[in-house]
Structure formats: structure tokens, C-alpha cells
């Protein structure tokens, strides 16, 4: 048949002509994370939240510089109402509430970011391994996650914290070591799908080692999921830490944390007569959690827009 003559027009050596025209649009798209960042920047609520969250981080980092008084020292009258000297008043032993609030941001951020960092590492690694290898490995890891997920989460935390002794580090590690199963399952599910796509076969055929396939080929494809999950995880950890400190199982006095400041509200007098001793802590927890959740929402939308 005349196939060879039919095909002669298509000589690949000469086709630069129409391919180069397209390269005018090159680099408009940029890398994957630039695309997500651009989409995220369009979301006003998320951007405002991000700015507020950055302020919060700055406040925590610069606490010694910006707080007006040392947080754990008696600097004024007991239970004084806010005035020009102590903007948010003082507590039962004359410590400045505003300074304690600023130092409390350190606790919340260390606990939340620390624990999320720990569980992201554990959850991601186990999720990748579980999804990729399948079989007995997968079954074992999944049974472990199920065991973890079928205990009342908060009770286990309480028991562990009281066994080890409450401190900011205990809370961080306990939250970190208990928080990974949901992320692990999420990633496993995604890996189950990704490993069937040809580029994984191509990576095997190229000769990549299994660990390179997991961490160089598959990991970039689940990073967005991790990012979104971690953001919501931070909000959760802030809340959990506050609850633990409120119950006296988190950060021990005299160290300041939003949660143990809030526990002042356990007394009826404080609750009704001295709002400056608990309302600011309550508001800052609310704001921090809301802000992080808005960032998470914005990230999720930016990431999901990518599939459309």
C-alpha cells in the first residue's frame, strides 16, 4: 500500500516551525506551587487570615520584645481591671494579662506546629509504604491505624499526659504520635490510585529505586493533600492544647497558655465579674483557630481547582 508516500510530509526534523510558535506562551504557567499560590492569593478571606496568622507567629517569636511586662512576675495589683498601664488588666496574683497572652501564643504555636510536623512525617511515610507495597504490609499498617482510630482520642491523650506528666513537650509529642492515622489513610488511598498510573511504571523502567519512587515520584503528587490536612491539623491542635490546659493537663502554671488562662473562667466570680481574665484568651483562641481554618479552606480550594 501507499503508506510510506502518505507519511513523507511528516518529517520530524523540520517541524520546529509550528512547535516554536507555542513556546511564546512558555513559563506563563510556572511551577505547580506557583499556580496554587496564585489561586490562593485570589481568595481574600484566606489572604487576610494568612496575614493575621503571620502576625500571630511574629508575636510569638518576638514575645520578649513586644510584651510590656515579664509574663510570670507580679507587676501590679491583684485582679485589676484594664487601664492605661495594664491594657488587659491583671490576674489573681498581679501578672499582666496581655503579656501572658502574648507568651501563650508561643505555647499554642509550638504545640500545634510541632505535633503536626510529627504526625505528618509518620502519617506520610506509613501512608506511602502502605499504599505502595500493598499486601501484608498494607494490611498490618491499616489494622494499626484502625486500632488508633477506634479509641476515644481525647481520653487516650488525657491518660498518656497524666502518665508522662503534663508539659508543653509531652502535649506536643502525644498529639503528634496520636494524630497520624487519618492522614495515613488519606495518603494510602491516593497512592493506591497513583501507583497504577504509567509514570510509576516508567520510573521503574528507568531504574529508580523504590525509595526514590516513593519520595521523589509519588510524594510530590500527594503534597497538596498533606498541606491541606496539616493546616486543619494545626487548628485542631490549638484547640486540643487549649482544652488540655483548661483541664490542667497541658501547660503547667506558672507558664502561660491560652488554655490555662481560660480556666480562670471556672470560677463564677471571674466569669461574671472579671471578664478581662478570660474573654481575651477565649477570643484569641477563636481567632487563631478560625484563621487557620480559613487558610486551610483557601488552600483546599486552590489545590482542588487544579484538577479542573
Amino acid at each position: 500500500m501507499e503508506i510510506s508516500s502518505k507519511l513523507k510530509f511528516a518529517n520530524p526534523a523540520n517541524n520546529h516551525g509550528y512547535e516554536v510558535v507555542e513556546s511564546i506562551n512558555a513559563n506563563k504557567e510556572g511551577s505547580y506551587f506557583k499556580t496554587i499560590a496564585r489561586r490562593f492569593a485570589k481568595n481574600k478571606v484566606a489572604m487576610i487570615s494568612l496575614v493575621l496568622f503571620i502576625f500571630l507567629i511574629l508575636a510569638a517569636v518576638l514575645a520578649p520584645v513586644i510584651s510590656p511586662y515579664p509574663p510570670n512576675k507580679t507587676v501590679g495589683n491583684f485582679e485589676a481591671a484594664p487601664d492605661s498601664e495594664f491594657h488587659l488588666g491583671t490576674d489573681e496574683i498581679g501578672r499582666d494579662v496581655l503579656s501572658r497572652l502574648i507568651y501563650g501564643a508561643r505555647v499554642s504555636l509550638i504545640v500545634s506546629m510541632g505535633s503536626v510536623a510529627i504526625y505528618v512525617i509518620i502519617g506520610t511515610t506509613l501512608g506511602l509504604i502502605s499504599g505502595y507495597f500493598g499486601g501484608i504490609t498494607d494490611a498490618t499498617i491499616m489494622r494499626i491505624t484502625e486500632v488508633f482510630m477506634s479509641y476515644p482520642y481525647f481520653m487516650v491523650i488525657l491518660v498518656l499526659v497524666s502518665l508522662i506528666g503534663p508539659s508543653i513537650w509531652t502535649v506536643t509529642f502525644v498529639l503528634g504520635f496520636l494524630g497520624w492515622p487519618p492522614l495515613c489513610r488519606l495518603i494510602r488511598g491516593q497512592v493506591l490510585y497513583i501507583k497504577t498510573i504509567d509514570f510509576i511504571s516508567a520510573a521503574k523502567a528507568t531504574g529508580y529505586s523504590t525509595s526514590s519512587i516513593l519520595f521523589k515520584q509519588i510524594l510530590p503528587n500527594v503534597l497538596s493533600i498533606i498541606l491541606v490536612n496539616a493546616t486543619f491539623g494545626i487548628a485542631n491542635a490549638i484547640l486540643t492544647e487549649a482544652s488540655l490546659s483548661f483541664l490542667g493537663m497541658g501547660v503547667r502554671p506558672p507558664a502561660a497558655s491560652w488554655g490555662n488562662m481560660l480556666s480562670n473562667a471556672q470560677s463564677l466570680t471571674v466569669l461574671s465579674m472579671q471578664p478581662w481574665r478570660w474573654v481575651p484568651a477565649g477570643i484569641i483562641i477563636l481567632v487563631a483557630v478560625l484563621v487557620v481554618n480559613f487558610i486551610g479552606d483557601g488552600l483546599r480550594d486552590a489545590v482542588e481547582g487544579e484538577t479542573k
Binding site: 520546529h16 513559563n27 516508567a202
Partner: protein, 319 residues
């Protein structure tokens, strides 16, 4: 044909079996006892309908799946026995694959530079960052892409461009043998022609051997030296490509060829579709059924008793 037979065998598949769910009710015999050789420097076309085991064969040869039984000798080594990182890498370096779906075969989160450069890194083929970049540019130019594309991501490309990137990645490690698994079937016809011509010219300039898996018969004829026809996990006929198209012996091959559309409207209108009856390769006693040589280099899967029938048919067609 004679020419081909004097050449060195680069790949030799013997009694290859690939079963899934072995021994269970839903056992699938994806590859059923096939044997064939590929000579150095030739292109062997592997054709057949969907589910006939073509791609499974390709993946087995590339050691992407664990075969049930049989041997695959590549360059003197049984690849099923390759073990250890060093030997695996050596094997990976000599055999590469071009995949069916150009988009799916490229990692969407990795730039073209790192897709191609990654292959160089795995085999430690470059000594410096600069050399790596230069090699990637060079490879892009070999497959007819501009070097500006290196910083871009797969989703920014068309199917044909992605397939070229895939070819560049395969070429990066300087392989001797490339499996093209339906490498052109996802592309539209004009791009198919470009890619096939690219593969042809690369074969010449780089001394490659191809296993070209496809279902588009006209393309297969254009690129292949020899063609194997597969159905239900078996090779039913194996011959040089001219001979296969001129004198198809097995009824399945006849049927397959009759399904091939022609570009001429008059021929197309009068084209008779030959239907294939599965009983031609269902035998009660499988022991005496194998690929038998009917004419020099022309093999047909049949029972010993059928050989004379096919020989007669061959002579008739050649009159």
C-alpha cells in the same frame, strides 16, 4: 527475511506464561506459552485485539511484572533471574519503554528537565549540573522539541509533545532495545506519522531494536520488519511484514487484515470483513499444537496435522 536470520538474537522469549489469579476460579491466562526471538537491529511488530496479551508481553519483557513461568533471555542473561541493584540498573539501562498514554507516562509534578535528567541521574551518566542540562537540551532537540520546553511541566504540552518527551526520556540512558507499547495509538493521525518517522530515524541513527506493540495495522506494517499476531495470549502467526500482509495464513490474521480500513473510497466500500471463529485456535489436545514453520521464517500456530493445509494455502497464495 534471509538477512534477518543471519543476525544476532538480542531477545529470546521461551515458553512465557503469565497467569493472573492462578489456580482460582477467575484465572486469566494473559500470556499462554509464547516463544519468539527478536534479532538485533530489527523491529518486531506485535499486533492483536484488545486483551490479547500484547501489552502484558511487553511489560513482562521489561520486568515490570513477575512472570508465571518461562524464560526471557536478553543479551545472554535471563532477566527473570536478575537480582540486586547493580544488575537491575544494568538491565534497565539497556532496555526502555515508550508508553501508550503520553500524559499518564509523565509525572505531572516534575518538570521536563527533571523527567529526562532524572533518568541520567539514576544511571549516573553526567558529572556536573551543566553537563546534565546540556544533555537534556540535546535529547530534546533529538526528538524535535525546543530547549525552552525543559522548564515546563507535562500538562502544558500536547499529546504528541508529551510522547516526544517520553521518547527523550527513554533515549536518555542510551538503550539498545526499546519497547513501544501502543506508543502512537493515543495520538491523532498526523502526529502518529511524525512520531513513527521519528522512531524510524532514531532506530537508524542509534542502532536500536524495537518491539512495536500496536493495533493499528497500517502503522505496524510501515515500521516493522517482522510481525507477530497475537490473540488470547498466543502468538498465532509470525512472519516478515511483507509476507504477512501478502500471504496471511492463519484465519485470525486474515480477519485482522480484513478489518483494516483503506484510504481509497472505492476499495473501502468493497472491503469484505472476514469474521474469525475462535475454534481455529481451540484444540482438544494442546500438546501437539505449536508455532510451526510453514515457509522459511513464516510460522503459524497450528496442530501438526494442519501443517500440510497451511503449506498448500501458502503455495496457492503465492501463485
Amino acid at each position: 527475511m534471509e538477512l534477518v536470520q543471519n543476525k544476532k538474537v538480542i531477545l529470546s522469549v521461551r515458553n512465557l506464561n503469565q497467569y493472573y489469579n492462578e489456580g482460582k476460579k477467575n484465572e486469566v491466562r494473559a500470556i499462554n506459552n509464547i516463544s519468539f526471538d527478536i534479532y538485533k537491529g530489527e523491529t518486531l511488530g506485535l499486533v492483536g485485539e484488545s486483551g490479547s496479551g500484547k501489552s502484558t508481553t511487553g511489560r513482562a519483557i521489561l520486568k515490570l511484572s513477575d512472570i508465571t513461568s518461562g524464560s526471557i533471555i536478553f543479551d545472554g542473561h535471563d532477566i527473570t533471574k536478575i537480582d540486586g541493584r547493580k544488575d537491575t540498573l544494568k538491565f534497565r539501562k539497556s532496555m526502555q519503554m515508550i508508553f501508550q498514554d503520553p500524559y499518564a507516562s509523565l509525572n505531572p509534578k516534575i518538570s521536563v528537565m527533571d523527567i529526562i535528567g532524572g533518568a541520567l541521574d539514576v544511571h549516573k551518566m553526567t558529572n556536573s549540573r551543566k553537563e546534565r542540562t546540556e544533555r537534556v537540551y540535546e535529547l530534546l532537540e533529538v526528538v524535535g522539541l525546543s530547549r525552552d520546553y525543559a522548564s515546563r511541566y507535562p500538562k502544558e504540552f500536547s499529546g504528541g509533545q508529551c510522547q516526544r518527551v517520553g521518547i527523550a526520556r527513554a533515549l536518555a540512558v542510551k538503550p539498545d532495545f526499546i519497547i513501544a507499547d501502543e506508543a502512537i495509538s493515543a495520538l491523532d493521525v498526523s502526529i502518529q506519522a511524525q512520531v513513527v518517522n521519528l522512531l524510524k530515524s532514531l532506530k537508524k541513527s542509534r542502532d536500536l531494536t524495537y518491539l512495536f506493540i500496536a493495533h493499528d495495522l497500517s502503522m505496524v506494517k510501515y515500521i516493522s520488519d517482522r510481525i507477530a499476531v497475537m490473540n488470547a495470549g498466543r502468538i498465532l502467526e509470525l512472519a516478515s511484514s511483507d509476507e504477512l500482509y501478502r500471504t496471511p495464513l492463519h484465519p485470525y490474521t486474515e480477519s485482522l487484515l480484513s478489518a483494516m480500513p483503506t484510504p481509497y473510497p472505492d476499495d473501502e466500500r468493497s472491503r469484505q470483513r472476514i469474521y474469525y471463529d475462535k475454534k481455529y485456535h481451540t484444540y482438544n489436545d494442546e500438546t501437539k499444537v505449536k508455532l510451526n514453520q510453514i515457509a522459511p521464517g513464516h510460522y503459524v500456530y497450528c496442530h501438526e496435522d494442519e501443517i500440510s493445509h497451511y503449506v498448500k494455502k501458502y503455495k496457492q497464495l503465492n501463485k
